[in-house]
């Protein structure tokens, strides 16, 4: 598990981040509207939602598949509240700001209740339970006709401020930056620290007097709220929302986005969303793709194989593969002593629920992480 740190001024990472941000802010001036609207704006909203999966996983050791549900609840609630007339939905006709607050409050309350119910489970059980949440949520919206029904809620207006697609992109960018900085800053707060303690050893934390279920529940609630923000962006972008868009397929897609990027770094969420959307939008334009028998319809096969490849190579996703390459490069130029230290340390991948590697030396830590695959192959079945 990567050690979580807040952003530090004057660290190389911050410099890279600021450069990327400046580029992202300037992007609409140089690229096509299609790219900004269909790739970058989507990247921001899906990345924001995927970042909540990363947050729960990295801080709490909880893999949640319910994040797209909160994404959807916010959208449905906004649509129900803001519409004045129409065939479907409650058509409450409330003003925009009230509707936004209403959508976020409902989403957060649902997240609080579901989080309380799930707070006594972790790991693989959490994954299964939240998947059940997601799918039952889909059925609720598909069957409960007063709030949606199978056809969903349509012609939902955007707030006038965000009518321009570029502005919607900027809204997504700003929210993403706030979420990114906020999630990272959380790591040094008392709540963030005890949440990480809960992740590593719930029994010890409980015996130290920490309320373990409460920490998990609050983390889940926060993640639900942020996913709700992303869901609002999504419903503005789409102008409509139907239950199929929060079904099991899209639910898994959001997890796949988080997995592609890497579950232990927040950047990964947006990297994953970007890769996914670029593949989705431009794969058919690649030369030679037709000859291989890959058409747009087989997109899911490609994405599935990509995820399979990533999980086989490194559970840390693309960000993990990048770091692995960097660590490999560093190791190639380092002395053999460091190498010995790296093999002696046990690494922790996505698959472990145990505490992080014992190495306190940052260099050894990075090197240890780079060895996940090499370590795991011969240790079949022995590490639990």
């Amino acid at each position: 598990m990567t050690r979580l740190t807040p952003l530090r001024l004057r660290s190389p990472g911050t410099v890279v981040l600021v450069v990327v941000l400046v580029l992202l802010f300037l992007l609409p001036t140089v690229s096509s509207t299609f790219f900004v609207d269909f790739v970058m704006a989507r990247t921001m909203m899906l990345g924001l939602a995927a970042a909540t999966i990363v947050f729960l996983s990295a801080y709490g050791g909880m893999i949640s598949l319910a994040q797209l549900l909160f994404f959807g609840i916010a959208g449905f609630m906004y649509g129900n509240a803001v519409l004045e007339s129409g065939a479907r939905g409650l058509t409450l006709g409330w003003p925009g700001w009230v509707s936004i607050v209403f959508a976020l409050v409902v989403t957060t309350v649902v997240a609080l209740l579901l989080g309380a119910l799930a707070s006594r489970t972790t790991g693989i059980y959490y994954l299964m339970l939240t998947l059940v949440y997601g799918v039952i949520g889909f059925y609720v919206f598909a069957q409960v006709v007063p709030i949606s029904g199978p056809g969903g809620v349509t012609s939902i207006p955007r707030p006038e401020v965000l009518a321009d697609p570029v502005r919607l992109y900027y809204a997504g960018l700003v929210l993403s930056v706030i979420a990114y900085v906020g999630f990272r800053a959380l790591s040094v707060t008392p709540f963030g620290r005890s949440l990480q303690g809960v992740r590593d050893d719930p029994v010890r934390m409980a015996s130290l007097g920490f309320n373990v279920p409460l920490h998990r529940m609050l983390a889940f609630t926060l993640a639900g709220f942020v996913a709700g923000l992303a869901g609002l962006l999504n419903v503005w972008w789409n102008g409509q929302i139907d239950p199929a868009s929060i079904g099991i397929g899209p639910t898994l897609t959001l997890l796949i986005i988080a997995v592609i990027g890497g579950m232990s770094r927040f950047e990964g969420a947006w990297v994953g969303a970007f890769v996914y959307l670029v593949a989705n939008n431009y794969m058919r334009d690649l030369p030679l793709v037709d000859q291989l028998g890959i058409t747009e319809a087989r997109f899911n096969t490609i994405i599935g194989l990509l995820v399979l490849l990533i999980m086989v190579l490194s559970p840390e996703g693309l960000v993990g593969i990048f770091e692995k390459a960097r660590a490999w490069w560093q190791r190639a130029t380092l002395t053999p002593t460091t190498e010995a230290a790296s093999t002696a340390t046990t690494s922790t991948g996505v698959g472990r629920s145990g505490p992080p590697a014992t190495a306190d030396d940052p260099a050894a830590d990075t090197a240890a992480r780079s060895d996940t695959v090499a370590h795991d192959s011969p240790r079949e079945g022995t590490d639990r």
């Binding site: 489970t121 299964m128 039952i136 796949i256 698959g351 629920s353 795991d376 079949e380 022995t382």
Partner: protein, 361 residues
């Protein structure tokens, strides 16, 4: 050191032990019982304005609903027992379980069409008992082979990394779903019950299809076979020992890697069997893989992961809720029936976070 701490995290994953837990648990347990009594009272005497009516006034309808629930529970059990068997021994959550279900269903339908010699409008009269059993065995065997290939290629070498394995099987399920869509198309197709089992019997004046009872009978046979296998054979003994302490079994010189492979084979075979039964019962279509993954998850979360007894209990509870909620909710609110599934899950989890028969480890 890592192995130990991982295990301790697993053992105590509901680590939130607070002093008031005992009292809370007691309250919740009694709350659950009171809720059960209220539901029973509602169904028996109070349920006016529902599509079925109170059970004392219309016992036939009540019995039919009960049978619907129990027979569907049979199907749930066949599918979920495979899921829980694999999890119990290997702690692998097979997210591709639903894909194996659907793959087997599609293949069995193809085989049945070839055996009957018609591709559409197959009637039960055309289908002999062999025209149903042979496709079942072919479909389930292919699902089992796909399962074992998956286990050998992708899961063998990362045993114990639960989340990584779940994500790997998830990726496989995405690929399988897409390839099945390519091969079998998006239209719903149906497996046909053999003519021997398609009759109707009278229950308090209502007709009831014997094919559903046949489905229940198959499930009971599967359940008994599983029970005999796990409790009365050497292999079953090894599997149960492996569930409790895998390293000790290994240390005793037993080839547990082989046992893993066989268990995965059986688990995938059960998914395939369930697929063929499900396709005969309700047809097979794209999306059924996700639905049946959900069904398996709900059953094992209610019953407790890794427990066959739990799979029986979970299937019965879930099957009954699915059958009773549309019939006994007030007519204008039947669309809320899905929420009752969730209420069931919430009540069970609030009382027992590890499911009815789950152990904390």
């Amino acid at each position: 050191m890592d192995a130990q701490s991982t295990q301790s995290a697993l053992l105590h994953r509901d680590g939130g032990v607070s002093p008031s837990r005992g009292a809370l648990e007691l309250t919740l347990t009694w709350g659950g019982r009171v809720l059960g009594a209220l539901v029973l009272a509602w169904v028996l005497v109070l349920a006016r304005g529902t599509s079925a009516g109170p059970a004392i006034e219309d016992p036939g309808r009540f019995l039919v609903t009960l049978l619907d629930g129990v027979t569907f529970a049979g199907l749930l059990f066949v599918v979920a027992s495979g899921f829980t068997l694999i999890f119990g021994l290997m702690r692998t959550v097979n997210m591709a379980h639903g894909s194996l279900f659907l793959l087997s269903a599609f293949i069995a339908i193809r085989v049945q069409q070839a055996m009957v010699g018609k591709t559409r409008n197959i009637e039960s009269a055309d289908v002999g008992i062999l025209d149903w059993i042979v496709p079942l065995l072919v479909g389930a065997s292919i699902a089992a082979v796909v399962g074992i290939v998956m286990q050998q290629l992708f899961l063998r070498w990362n045993q114990g990394q639960e989340l990584r394995q779940a994500l790997i099987t998830l990726a496989i399920s995405v690929v399988l779903a897409d390839q099945m869509l390519r091969e079998f198309g998006g239209l719903a197709v149906r497996m046909v019950w053999p003519r021997e089992v398609t009759h109707f019997i009278e229950i308090f004046g209502s007709r009831y299809a014997t094919s559903r009872l046949f489905m229940l009978a198959v499930a009971i046979v599967v359940g008994i076979a599983l029970w005999v296998w796990l409790t009365r054979t050497r292999m079953g003994m090894v599997i149960r020992a492996g569930v409790d302490d895998e390293q000790m079994v290994r240390a005793l010189g037993i080839n547990i890697t082989l046992v893993f492979a066989i268990t995965f084979f059986v688990g995938a075979f059960l998914a395939g069997m369930g697929g063929v039964m499900g396709a005969s019962f309700a047809g097979a279509a794209t999306g059924a893989d996700g639905d049946w993954l959900l069904n398996s998850l709900v059953v094992v979360i209610i019953g407790g992961l890794g427990s066959i007894k739990g799979a029986v209990a979970g299937s019965l509870l879930y099957g009954l809720v699915i059958a009773f909620s549309p019939a006994y909710l007030p007519s204008s609110y039947t669309f809320y029936s899905i929420i009752l599934t969730f209420v069931l899950l919430a009540v069970v989890l609030a009382v027992r976070p590890n499911g009815l028969f789950g152990r904390a480890g």
